[in-house]
């Protein structure tokens, strides 16, 4: 499930912006852990979600992500640093 290609990154804690400004194939970085972020990620065809600030979604959110075959990742770093590190390693913006 983790052997996938990501073409871009999008960091956001707003549902509307994630819906409008991301693009298919991206890695969505966010601190939002409610079920709607899974629905939005599915609709925008994000390839995976990285939850920042150590946020962990609940079991119902994980189950929905599994149904959608959407990998979920967690890191302890803040959104700004997470985006910066990935950018330094070549991941570009949507």
């Amino acid at each position: 499930m983790l052997d996938i290609d990501i073409n871009s990154g999008f960091g956001c804690d707003l549902i509307s912006d994630s819906l409008c400004f991301s693009r298919p194939g991206c890695l969505l970085l966010t601190g939002l852990t409610n079920i709607q972020i899974i629905r939005v990620a599915d609709m925008i065809e994000a390839r995976a979600i990285l939850f920042v600030r150590g946020k962990r979604p609940g079991d119902d959110i994980i189950r929905l992500a599994e149904e959608k075959s959407l990998p979920l990742l967690v890191c302890k770093r803040f959104l700004f640093e997470s985006c910066g590190l990935l950018y330094q390693h070549g991941l570009r913006s949507c």
Binding site: I15, S16, D17, L19, I35, Q36, R39, V40, D60
Partner: protein, 144 residues
């Protein structure tokens, strides 16, 4: 092709299901990628407006070769000032809704930006009717 969905107020578990099904249907009939993206934005923002602000509502979709027509009717508080509600950043979402990532005040502005035609009628204390048309422009990429 026509579809109709019921939307329940405050049901955040099911919110977005209607929009996801609309997207799948548009992909199946081969609508342009740009048309699908715009329709998804309009449908999702309209659906979540009902969930967040109204008691209940319905979303009807009519898919034609050259356009998608969405009509969302809700029972709820209505919108006292539609022009104000269309301003970017204006939101009446309460704090617990903002904590979920909503309430940026971009719902209606995004709907307007993505629609080729938009009508909003509202009556305070009764509800709101939103009608949006997204034209399937021939120069958009076909969905593959």
């Amino acid at each position: 092709m026509k579809m109709e969905f019921d939307i329940r107020g405050m049901d955040f578990t099911r919110a977005g299901e209607a929009s996801a099904r609309i997207k799948k249907a548009l992909q199946m009939v081969g609508m342009k990628v740009e048309t699908i993206k715009k329709t998804v934005i309009v449908a999702y923002e309209a659906e979540l407006n009902v969930v967040i602000h109204a008691r209940q509502g319905t979303m009807k979709v009519r898919v034609c070769p050259d356009r998608v027509e969405l009509t969302v009717v809700d029972e709820g508080p209505g919108i006292p000032d539609i022009s104000l509600a269309l301003q970017e950043g204006y939101s009446t979402a309460p704090p617990h809704i903002r904590e979920m990532g909503f309430g940026a005040g971009m719902g209606l502005p995004n709907i307007k930006r993505c629609s080729d035609e938009l009508e909003i009628e509202s009556e305070v204390g009764t509800g709101t009717i939103l009608k949006a048309v997204i034209i399937n422009h021939p120069d958009g990429d076909s969905n593959v």
